[in-house]
Every structure is written in C-alpha cells, then in structure tokens.
C-alpha cells in the first residue's frame, strides 16, 4: 500500500541554511544506528517492545554468484578507445608544437602563399626584377632540417631562430599563437573535466523491459547502443535461463537496429503495459520508439533541441508522454505526435548559482506534477497552472545534511518501488525523498563511491519488503548496492551496509594471465568508463542480474542472489569437502570455526576454491579450443598454483574468488575476439628500417624437433612436475633417449703447425712474442753470428785444422734444433716445401737490404715469377672452391640449395673484403710487391660485385674465417 504514510518518523533536528559539514570523514556509511524509536506494541513489559533503528545493521544481503562479471556480447573492434590518462591543461605548448610541426599546412598556409614568391628554393633561374625581393632558402632549409628533432628543435640555431622570429613572428601564423594557446588550454581543461565527469551521460544508455515471465525463464528486451560511436540503437531479445541453478542472460535471435544521428547518451524505458515506450536521447535530438511484446519496435517521433538536451524521461503513468530538458533551462512535456509543451523555464539555477546548465526532469506520483531539477535541488511543478507553482522536494543545504560542495548528480522517480519516493544522488550521498514530506530525506546513505553516481536502478522485491538501489558511476565503473525497507506503514529504514559489486576493471585479476602487451590492451579496454546500467530482476527464483554498459559498447553482467546464512554455510561446507587441503599455518582452529560461520569472509578456502575451479578446466584443452593455439606461458603460470603455495597466496588474494567454467570460457572467447579484432596497427609497423632476412634463414616448415606429439605432452608433464618440486629437469626424468656423448677433443699440438703465424701465436701465448720477432727480423743476427763464430772457434780449437768447410755446413744443418728459425731458413731456403712462406721471406730480404750473399737473392728472384704467373682469377677460384667445400658444414646453411647464386655472391664479397682488409693492413708496414698486385686486381673485381650492404650473418661468417684467411694470404 503505497498510499500510506509512516505513522511515526525517526526523530531528527531540522536545520536550515547552507551546508555546514565538510567532506572530511570518509567512513560515514558505517557504524551508526542513526535514530531509534520504540514500537508501541501495547504491551506492558519493556522487554516486549521492539525498537526500530534508522539503520538496521544486519540487513539481508545479496551475494554475487561469481566473483567477476561476464561479457554478454563479443567485443566490437573499436579503432581507438581513449585511455584513462587525464590530459593536463598545462600541456598546451606540447600540443601547439605538434600542431606546428605536423600540421604546418594548416598553421602557416596563408602566409605561405603570400610569401611564396619571395623565397628562393634554388629551383630555376630567378628573374632579374625578383632578385632584390627574394631570399634564398638554403640557410632556411638547413635550419628547418634540424627541426626534426623533437627535443628542442631550435636550440642550435637559437640566435638565428630568434632573428627569424623577430622578423616573421607576428605575421607567419594563420592562427595567432596567443589565441591558439588559449583555446588549446581551454580545450584541454574541458577534456580533462569531461574525462573525470561527463554529465551528458547522466541516466545511462542501457534499458531493459520485460516481455514475459515463466517458471523457468524470463524473456525481456535489452535496449543498448552499439558501433564505435554508439550511434546504432539495438533492440535485442534476452532470455534469462537457469543453468546449473545459476541464472544467466542469453541473447536470442538477431538484434533489430536503427541508426541514430549522434552518440546515444541516454535510453529511458517506460513501464510495460500494452506497449512500451523507449526514449533515446542524443546530444541535440530525442527520439521515441514503441514496442509491444509481439511486434518489433517502431520509431515514432523525433524532436530537435536548440541547446544540448540533458534529460529525457518516459512517463510511467501515461503512454506516449515524455519529458525533455535541455541546457537552455527549459523543460518540455512531449506528447508523442504533438508538439512540445513548455512547462518550466529557469534562467539560472534553482537555489544558488552553481554555474551549471545541467537540467533534469522526472515524473512524480501525480501525472500532472513534474519534477524539475538542477545541480542545486529538486522542485515539483504543477504543469496545469499557468503560473509556476512549485514545491521544494530537495535542496542542497543543512536540512538534508549535505556537505559543502555537494551537488545533485541524478534524480530518479522510483515508481516501481514506492510511488512517492525519489532517489537523489550526490557525490557523497544518496537520498530517498518522499514527496509528501519534502525537504527532509527519508533515508540518507553515504554511498562511498569514488566518482559521482550517474546511473541508478531500483528494484522492489515484494517478498522481503526490501528495496534494492544500485548506483553506478561513470569513470570509476563502480557499482554500489544499497538497500532499504519501509516508507509506507513504517518509517523507511536502511538495511545493512553499502555493498560494492564487481566491475569489469577488477575482473581482469581473476582471469588467466595474458602476454603482457595483450594484458595491457585488455586492461585498457576494461577500464573504459561506464555508460549505463540496467537490472533484470527475476522474482520466481529470486535473482538479480546487473548489466553494465561501457563507453565502447561492451556489456558485462553479474548475477546476484539473496545470501541467506544457511545457504552460504552449505555452500561453504561443500567447498571444504571438495578440498582435501588441510588448514595450514596461519589459520588457527578458531579461525576455521569462524570461516564456517561466515564463509564469505574466509579467504583461505576461497582462494583454494579458485584453484579448484581452475584446475577443473584443464588449461591445455580449453586453451587449445579457444585460442586455437597453445599458449604454454599461460599454462605455466596457472599451474604452479598448488597446495604448497596457496596459503601464501591466500593472503594476497583478498577477493572471494569463485569463477565458473562457463564464465571463464566466455571470457576466453571474448579476449580472443578482442585480440583478433585489433591485429593491425599500421602506424607503428614501419617505424624503423628493416632488412629482410627471409632468404638467409629459409625454413621449410618442417618441425625442428623430431619428437612426436605424445612425447611433447609427456615432456610438458615432466616439466610441470619438476617445477612443482622446484628441481631441475634432467634427461633421466624424461622418456627421451640419452643424448650422444661427444668425445673430448684431443689436446692441441702446436708443433704440428709449421706456418709462421701459428708459430708466432703459440710463442706469444707463452710470452715470447718479442723474442720471436727479434729472431725473425734478425735483429739479434749479429749476436748470433758472434755466438756462432765463438762456437766454431771453440770447435776449431778442440778439433784442430782437420775439419773441412763443407763438413761444417752439414753439421750446421744437423744442428737445426739448436739454431732455430734462422738456421733453418737459411738451410731450407731452396727446398720444395709448398707451405713455405715466401712472401714473408722476401719481405725479410727486402728489409734487410743485405746484398752480401748474391746467390741467395738470385734464388729468390727465380721464385718470384713462378708466383706471378698464376693469374689472379685462378687464385680466387681456388680459394672459392676450398671455401665451398667447407661451407656445408655450417649447420645454419644446411638445406639451402635454392639460392646458390646469391650465396656465391655473398661468399665472394665476404672473401674479398676480408682479404682487402688484411692486405691493406699489411701494406702499411712493409713494402710487399707481390701481394699488392693481387689485391689491386681483387678489389677491382669485388667493387663491382659487392652488394651494397651485408647482413649480420655474412659479416659474422667473415670474421670467423678471418683467422684462416690470414694464413692463406700470402699465397
């Protein structure tokens, strides 16, 4: 019986005047009973009296069925959604800089055209008459080219820049910088403000009306905007069905959509009688559709407003009546098919100057008395009388206990809850006003939301006489559930404490982890501000489904069911039974007792429950099914959540985690669609110059490992086990055959390398580098000769004159080991050893300038033409064939018969360039004549054949072979 007024109201002081309180204490929602009165039951005994508190502390609660929201629709690919980054107004110089640098056409085009003739860009001859009035642009160009650097483009030219600025600063801009800066600053301020709070979205663009109800399901129609600009109105049939005792909304058929001219800001749905009227507000247009349970929705009428429309409400009493308010301060009654009837016009704000053009209107219990609201308060105005006759319903002031700075954000007529109740929300509080007793709120909540609530839904649940109000905020996506009872026979009473519902932003934490950049993407998508909420109440199986629309058109839902203590306990016991895990450290027996008493608060068991549910759906199968590919990283992260760790984790996961398999699957497919939808980001694909390495690393598509699929899976399992044990995966633990044991290489025998370089290197390794060179260059020659002579003398002395000269030569040859390189070089000089390093030797000879032994030089000259006869062509061929023979051993080159030509060229260039380098280095010091001729020829060839650039591979191969080539150099 809505017609009754409470017999007694709670005692309260009636203050008048401006708000006195300051917004300081952030916990006003809790702790107090408010006021109390005794119900005079007529009994004599005091103990029999029941007392009513203004705030009943232990109210009935709604419990979410799952801890996260679920997506209702696949995500629409939206090119760009703005991140949560708030633009700062002081960023305007940066924006101006960007404008000048990247939109120079727009910034300077006019002056550009005017001055065009007077600047010479060096193209074409200048006419004589023009020479005087023309400026060369060479300097200018240089100056401009340096402007590519974003950091501070003008710094190196500071002086000249300031000169140019002095000369042209006043005239060159199409838009004067002062004006541009001012406008930009303003725009940025506005954008920031809009990001924090965009009042045009007040009311919310999501609507729902019921079509039919049966015992097992409920059919309704969801009205929501779609497309990137939210400019397509969709009517979509929704069926709420019970699956495994959980109500789930499901879309049926295809949506019926209508294109709308402008972003849909608000959807207002009337009550379902024979037909239902749906009002849609865009910035400057309002439209109305009519739908019946049998026919599809039809557009009826459209009106256009001069100023931006701020409100559109469909009448709950009369079919085809709507209220429209715009920023001009005028409110109209719009009867469909007839013109607008103005019923109220306010130039300024109602009670004080809040400097806000925002207006709102709504219906009241009397069909001809309308509610007119702005940021300062609410008034009822009778539209029958010509003169404005108005009553205050609510005003910002001390009467309703407002805080200073508080403003009305939204008001809503709660027709379906109580015909005289209005909900008013402000940044800090939510009020229930009774229009029969204006000014003093019947109920006041502190909703504890971070950003102001702009969307509201009220559900009257007849069975328990409790009314549920859901508030939704825009930028922080919060959803807060408040409850109250009474208002008819007994005074209205707050039930319980405000309850926060989960929002898409926080659902990400309970979803499988993604690869970081995807995670970031998804996170950005999920933090998009909300644009509306709707609720579906199913009274047969008491459940409440809350839907939330985001600004990019995603719809998420969550289901709530009344949480009776018994059912919760039962559910919790089930959970405990499922878990074989015993309570571990950190939870005393008392705590476990507590957890049984109040399962919602038991973190430990709930986190376990999460693990159970996750391990319920094997990641491999589900991943493979949904994503199409395996994502081992996801599995790796998911699986280590085991018994060992869940105690420590339980401290970190504060939220009750309970996610069903179906929801996880939904999320996975949603994430999949989101990922596929935005694959190409052409803006960033060509940022740096890339070299194609396709031909270097051809991969014929065969799997690299020869293991079968079974083996791979068994290997994965092994890996998982090992990770659980935190040990190392060894070959023995797997089913693989043990790898081949490679024999250790033989110790290096330096003696076997006869060439000079190897000898030098081995000597210098032991620290004898200097000695070696001294000996090689003959710097100690005289010393040695002296020594030799002494030795001979000694020998002579011992043997006497019997020994012949020839004998002395043979002995010297036999004493090779004693006389080392010097004597060997001398003795073996004429030998046929092919490894003999003639070039070094000839070099030595030429530096020696020692013509004391003519027969030796003659031999050298004989040897030289022999080498020069070989044509350089042949030589290179020889080297090439050697290289070729070696090449296939390189593992990365295997299986590449396709491009031998290319390969050849690469090798050639690699070869020549390396030779060239070495030769150049060699020519610096000594005067080589023989290799010089070769190198000049080679370089002429290589220059013509060499590719302009070399990939990293060819370079590395070059360097790896350098050692060998050096040895061959003097060939």
């Amino acid at each position: 019986m809505d017609s009754k007024f409470p017999d007694q109201l709670f005692p309260v002081f009636y203050y008048t005047g401006p708000p006195k309180k300051k917004a300081d204490c952030p916990v006003h929602a809790w702790g107090l009973h408010g006021h109390v009165y005794g119900n005079d039951s007529g009994s004599a005994e005091v103990a029999d009296w029941s007392f009513l508190a203004q705030r009943k502390v232990n109210g009935p609660t709604w419990a979410p069925v799952e801890s996260i929201v679920a997506p209702l629709l696949p995500p629409k690919s939206v090119n760009k959604w703005s991140s949560r980054h708030l633009p700062s107004a002081m960023d305007f110089p940066k924006h101006m800089q960007n404008f000048y640098l990247y939109k120079s056409e727009d910034a300077f085009s006019t002056m550009n055209h005017l001055l065009e003739d007077h600047f010479d860009f060096g193209s074409g001859e200048l006419k004589e008459c023009m020479k005087k009035t023309t400026v060369s642009m060479k300097n200018m160009e240089r100056f401009m080219s340096s402007a590519k650097f974003i950091k501070c483009p003008l710094k190196p030219f500071e002086k000249r820049a300031s000169l140019y600025n002095n000369l042209l600063g006043d005239v060159i801009h199409d838009i004067p910088p002062g004006l541009l800066g001012e406008l930009l600053y303003e725009e940025l301020t506005l954008q920031r403000e809009e990001k924090q709070f965009n009042e045009v979205a007040t009311g919310g663009a999501l609507g729902f009306f019921l079509i039919s109800t049966s015992n097992t399901s409920q059919e309704g129609c969801l009205v929501y905007p779609r497309k990137a600009a939210l400019n397509s109105l969709n009517f979509h049939k929704v069926v709420v069905e019970f699956q495994e005792n959980i109500p789930r909304p499901k879309f049926m058929n295809k949506p019926i959509n209508y294109g709308v001219n402008g972003t849909i800001r608000q959807v207002s749905v009337g009550p379902m009688e024979e037909s239902v009227y749906v009002g849609v507000r865009t910035d400057y247009n309002c439209g109305v559709w009519v739908a019946t349970s049998a026919q599809k929705p039809q557009p009826l009428d459209v009106v256009n407003t001069q100023e931006r429309a701020t409100c559109l409400t469909v009448s709950p009493h009369m079919p085809g009546e709507l209220l429209v308010a715009s920023e001009s301060g005028v409110a109209y009654l719009w009867t469909v098919g007839r013109s607008l009837q103005k019923f109220r016009e306010e130039e300024g704000n109602l009670y004080f100057n809040a400097k806000s053009p925002w207006r709102w209107c709504d219906f009241s219990a009397h069909p001809r008395v309308m509610l007119y609201a702005d940021r300062t308060g609410l008034e009822l105005s009778d539209i029958r009388s010509k003169e404005t006759c108005s009553h205050t319903v609510f005003r910002i002031g001390a009467t309703s206990g407002c805080k200073s700075g508080e403003r009305v954000i939204l008001s809503r007529y709660l027709c379906n809850v109580n015909t005289h109740h209005h909900l008013v929300t402000t940044q800090h509080s939510a009020y229930i006003m009774d229009e029969r007793f204006p000014c003093l709120p019947m109920i006041k909540w502190d909703h504890m939301m971070a950003s102001p609530p702009m969307f509201a839904q009220a559900v009257g649940t007849a069975s328990q006489h409790q009314n549920t109000v859901i508030l939704g905020s825009q930028s922080s996506q919060e959803l807060t559930l408040l409850q109250y009872s009474g208002g008819n026979a007994v005074a209205a009473q707050v039930l319980g404490a405000p309850q926060k519902l989960s929002c898409p932003m926080k659902s990400l934490a309970d979803l499988p982890v993604q690869i970081p950049h995807r995670q970031k993407n998804v996170q950005e998508r999920l933090t998009v501000p909300a644009a509306g909420i709707a609720s579906i109440y199913y009274d047969k199986e008491e459940s409440l489904c809350v839907l939330q629309l985001s600004e990019v058109g995603d719809i998420f839902y969550q289901t709530l069911r009344p949480a009776s203590q018994d059912s919760l306990q039962a559910a919790h016991k089930e959970m405990l039974n499922e878990d074989s895990v015993t309570e571990q450290s950190g939870s005393s027996p008392q705590e476990s007792q507590e957890s049984v008493n109040n399962p919602r608060t038991n973190i430990v068991s709930q986190s376990k429950c999460k693990i159970v549910s996750q391990s319920d759906c094997p990641p491999e199968t589900s991943d493979a099914r949904i994503h199409g590919i395996n994502e081992p990283c996801v599995n790796m992260i998911l699986n280590p959540l085991t018994e060992q760790e869940d105690v420590s984790l339980s401290k970190d996961i504060p939220r009750p985690a309970k996610v069903s398999k179906a929801t996880l699957l939904k999320w996975k497919s949603w994430l999949n669609v989101l990922r596929n939808g935005q694959r190409s980001t052409p803006r960033y694909s060509q940022l740096h110059w890339t070299l194609k390495t396709k031909d270097h690393f051809t991969f014929d598509g065969k799997p690299r490992d020869i293991l079968g699929k079974d083996q791979i899976t068994s290997l994965r399992n092994n890996m998982r086990e090992v990770m659980e044990k935190k040990s190392v995966l060894t070959c023995g633990a797997t089913s693989l055959s043990p790898p081949e044991v490679l024999p250790t290489p033989h110790p290096v025998d330096t003696q076997s390398w006869g060439d000079d370089l190897s000898q030098r290197l081995s000597v210098s390794w032991e620290g004898g580098w200097k000695d070696w060179w001294e000996e090689k260059l003959g710097l100690n020659r005289e010393k040695r000769i002296e020594e030799l002579r002494r030795k001979r003398r000694r020998l002579k002395r011992t043997r006497g004159p019997r020994v012949a000269l020839s004998g002395s030569f043979t002995t010297s040859a036999s004493y090779q080991s004693d006389l080392d390189g010097w004597s060997s070089a001398v003795s073996d000089f004429g030998g046929q050893d092919p490894d003999l390093d003639s070039s070094t030797f000839s070099g030595y000879l030429s530096t020696q300038e020692d013509s004391a032994e003519p027969e030796r030089t003659g031999r050298v000259l004989q040897h030289e033409p022999k080498g020069s006869k070989l044509s350089s062509e042949e030589k290179s061929n020889v080297t090439l064939s050697r290289n070729k023979a070696k090449m296939p051993k390189d593992p990365s080159q295997e299986g590449n018969p396709k491009a031998p030509k290319q390969l050849k060229q690469d090798y050639m260039s690699a070869l020549f360039s390396s030779q060239e380098e070495v030769v150049d280095a060699g020519t610096e010091g000594t005067d080589f004549f023989f290799p010089m001729s070769l190198s000049s020829q080679v370089s002429s060839i290589s220059n013509s054949q060499r590719k302009p650039s070399l990939g990293p591979f060819s370079q590395s191969s070059q360097s790896s072979k350098q050692g060998k080539k050096r040895a061959r150099m003097g060939f």
Partner: protein
C-alpha cells in the same frame, strides 16, 4: 623555445584577463502555500551557501561569488550581461577530492595508515568483516598521530569502523561491543556524547533496556568545558531520549499498576517520578525545530492520562503549525486524531484535515475528510468533497484502490440524486484531457479485472459518467464480463454433464 615562450605569455595574459562569469542574479526561492514555512530563513542564507559553494567548486577563480551577493540591486546590469547558458570555462561540478589519494607531503606513517584505511574500506564494502577486523588492529596505530585534527579524525574513523565491524562480525559478543564503546568514549573528549548515545541505541536494540537507561543517565551528567554546537545538539538528544525511555518505563508501570488494582502507593509514586522526568526532557526537545514524532506521541499520551487536555492540544498545535518546524504530515495527523479522541466538533476536524489535504492531497485520511464533508451535506461541502476525491484519484498510489473508487461511485449517485452534476463537470474539466489515458484505457480494464472485479465495476460507473458509455474502458469491461459469463456457462455445463 620561442613558441613556448609566446604561449606562456599569452596564457598569463588570459589568466589575468580571466573574465569572471557574468554574475548570476540571486534567485529568490519560490515557495508554495504548502511549503511556506520551510522557506523563510532561506532568503539571506542562500548567498552564503553560494559563497561556500564557490569555495569548494573553483579555487582557481576568486571573483564572481562576491558579485552574486552584492548584485542584488542592480538588475539592469545583469540583464545586459550574457546569461550563463554557455558551457562555463571552469569545472562546475566539484568532483570529490580523493581523500584516499596520495598527497605531496606524506610521511611514511601517513602513507601506511592511508593504505590501511583503504584496505579496510575495500573489505567493508565487500562485506569481508573478518579481514577488515585484522586490518583495523593495525590501524589503531593512527591514534599516535601528533596533530590534533588528524587524531580526532582517526578516533572518529576507528569508532565508525570498529563499531560496524563489531556489529557485523560473526564472533562479536555484546561484552566486546560494550568494552569497545567504553574505550572509544574516553579516547577523545569530543566523541563522548555521540558514542554514549550510540551505545544506548545498541543496548536498546539488543534488548538491554536498563543498561541503555544507565548509559543515558551517565551521559546526561557529563560535563566538559565549552561545548560545540554539535555537542550541544547531542546533549539535547540525550535528554530527549532519556525522557523517552522514562516515558516507556512510565507505560510499563502504568500497565502493571492497572493490572493489580490494589493501588500500590509506591508504584504510583514511581510512575509519577517517571512522568516528571519524561515531561521535563520532552518539553525541552519539542521546543526545537525538528521531527519528534515518537516524543510528541509519548508526551501527549502522558498529558492525556493526567487529563491535561489543554496542554496536549497546545503541544500538538505548536508541533503542527509552528513555522519553524518542517511540514510534517504526521503533526496534522496527531492533531486530528487527538481532536477525534476528544470528540471535538466536525468543523475543527475538517479544518485540520483540510490543511493536511493541502500538504498531502493523497493522504489516507482524505477518505475520512471526504466522509466528514459528505456528512455536512451542503453544496459547498459536496463540491469540496468531490475535489478531495478527484485529488486523491489524481495520485497514482490510489489508482487501484477499491475504497476510493467506491466513494466516487457513491458520490456520483449522490450528485445525480441531488441534481448537482455540474459539480462533476467542473472537476472533470481540468482532467478530461488526461484521465482517460491515466485511468480508463483497455489495459487498465484488464489489469483491474485481474486485481478485483469490484474495482472494475466501480470504475465502469465512473468512466461511463465521466467519459461516456462508449469509452474504451467500458467496452473492454463488457468484453471481459462476457468472457467471464461464457466461462461460467462452460463450467456449469461441464458440471451438469457429469
């Protein structure tokens, strides 16, 4: 950089120029007859609110608000100026400062306490009481805060959070709550009265009446230097509740003494003591503007018992007609009921009910007013009675009320009999464009029929009189009746067959 330099210069210029928004003329509140008395004190206070609002809204701007106050006189100036319709440059909506956000000069202590508070808030908002309790234990260290305002705030926060957790925690016992309240009372002097009051409420709700009385008595005698306005109000409330509880004790004593008629002198004495206590406290609170329904009812009840009818009437009249008080419909209801109990004249009763009717045209006592007016029988009163009915049925909460529609049907009959149908015409004139859609659609016929057939029949009479016999509602009603008849026929037919 030149560009930036230019920019900054220009920005500064704009800042200096920064035209304040055109001053907005102070708007006089519009008051209607029914809300006359809530608007009296506002006129000059509004400007103050404006200033305080300015303080909150845009600290960037410092002019404008002064103009709002001073510009009341020169209207011409204002009209010349551009109205504020255009989107204002500056944020017009104060987003609540994120008190839970990081501040620039924050010590580690403050930071940890802020984070802790956020955690507790999260827990409470998600109804995880036990976890919140654990966090609260750590939060107690904020009481070590040196600065006084912060310490006071910390006390308040701890009290709020602590009591909420204790109310909700599955393991909390009454002793714990009592202990906590006692501790909190003495942590800061300022909270003493509030916590005492809250404590007594808690005791009352848990059925410890005597303890609650004791709490209030202790709090009553509490004295501490200078009191703030809030504390003074709390003290008054404590007195009032103390009086109210004395009244409750008085009732119980009255009940027990009337049961045994021996006339125990001491019991009567005790009753008198309670009466005196209650009288003094309740008298005090009733002088202050506010909603005091339970107190008024109790006070009048006691006065009536001791036959002080004059006093009771004065109290009720004061409560109903004093312009300092809010427009409380219940005040008029109590007065009317008192008059009815006292058997005062119908005229007086009608006068009270008429005032109530002006305040709340849809009040359920309007049916009584209707019958009272009907009884007087004059044409004028009949007209008024009809108006009352029309007004009642304008309100959508009476849409499906059988009683109201029956009254209307009877009224039509009476008017026909008295040949005063023109009265009906007068009332109908303003409603004929919207009542058919509001009451007499085919949908309503079906809905009413489902609700009760009686309602349908009553409404059909009214509809046929007002709209005409061929209205949608009547046609639908005939269809429904025919359907019903047919169904009944089938049923009886089946029965006969059997």
């Amino acid at each position: 950089m030149i560009t930036n330099g230019c920019m900054l210069k220009s920005f500064k210029v704009t800042e200096e120029k920064g035209n304040p928004l055109p001053p907005q003329r102070e708007k006089k509140p519009k008051t209607s007859p029914c809300v006359l008395r809530c608007g009296t004190a506002y006129g000059n206070l509004l400007a103050m609110d404006d200033i305080s609002a300015e303080w909150m809204t845009s600290p960037v701007r410092d002019c404008g608000s002064d103009n709002d106050v001073s510009n009341d006189d020169d209207d011409e100036d204002d009209e010349e100026e551009e109205p504020i319709r255009k989107r204002s440059k500056w944020p017009d909506l104060p987003i609540p400062a994120p008190w839970y956000g990081e501040t620039s000069k924050e010590t580690g202590f403050h930071r940890s306490s802020r984070l802790c508070l956020n955690q507790i808030r999260e827990c409470l908002l998600e109804h995880r009481w036990q976890e919140a309790a654990e966090y609260l234990i750590s939060y107690f260290q904020t009481l070590e805060e040196i600065s006084t305002p912060r310490q006071l705030l910390a006390t308040e926060i701890i009290f709020r959070l602590g009591s909420e957790i204790l109310h909700q925690h599955p393991n909390s016992k009454l002793e714990d709550v009592n202990h906590f309240f006692d501790l909190m009372k003495n942590t800061g002097v300022r909270g003493y009265l509030k916590i005492s009051l809250e404590h007594s409420f808690h005791l009352l709700l848990t059925g410890n009446f005597d303890d609650a009385v004791r709490q209030l008595t202790t709090a009553e005698s509490w004295r501490y230097g200078k009191q703030s306005a809030v504390q003074a109000d709390k003290m008054k409330l404590i007195h009032a509740y103390r009086g109210f509880l004395s009244y409750l004790s008085w009732i119980s004593k009255k009940g027990s003494s009337s049961e045994d008629d021996d006339g125990d002198v001491s019991a009567i004495q005790e009753m008198h003591t309670y009466f005196r206590q209650a009288c003094i406290s309740l008298q005090e609170i009733l002088k202050l503007p506010g909603v005091w329904d339970p107190f008024v009812v109790g006070y009048v009840n006691m006065l009536e018992f001791y036959n002080d009818h004059e006093g009771a009437l004065n109290v009720l009249k004061e409560y109903a007609y004093d312009s300092r008080f809010p427009p409380n419909p219940n005040a008029h209801v109590y007065l009317y009921r008192f008059l009815k109990r006292q058997g005062s004249t119908e005229k007086k009763q009608i006068r009270v009910l008429k005032i109530l009717g002006a305040l709340v045209p849809s009040h359920e006592l309007m049916l009584e007013l209707f019958s009272l007016l009907l009884e007087s029988g004059t044409e004028q009163s009949l007209k008024e009675a009809l108006d009352v009915l029309f007004n009642l049925l304008d309100d959508c909460s009476w849409k499906h009320s059988v009683a109201a529609w029956t009254c209307f049907r009877n009224m039509i009959k009476l008017l026909r009999r008295k040949k005063l149908k023109h009265l009906l015409e007068e009332g109908w004139e303003t409603r004929k464009d919207w009542w058919p859609a509001f009451h007499f659609r085919t949908y309503h016929a079906r809905a009413d029929f489902q609700l009760s057939r009686q309602l349908l029949l009553m409404k059909v009479v009214v509809a046929s009189t007002l709209v005409g016999n061929k209205c949608m509602y009547c046609r639908r009603k005939n269809e429904l009746e025919n359907e019903r008849e047919a169904r009944r026929m089938i049923k009886t037919h089946k029965k006969r067959k059997r």
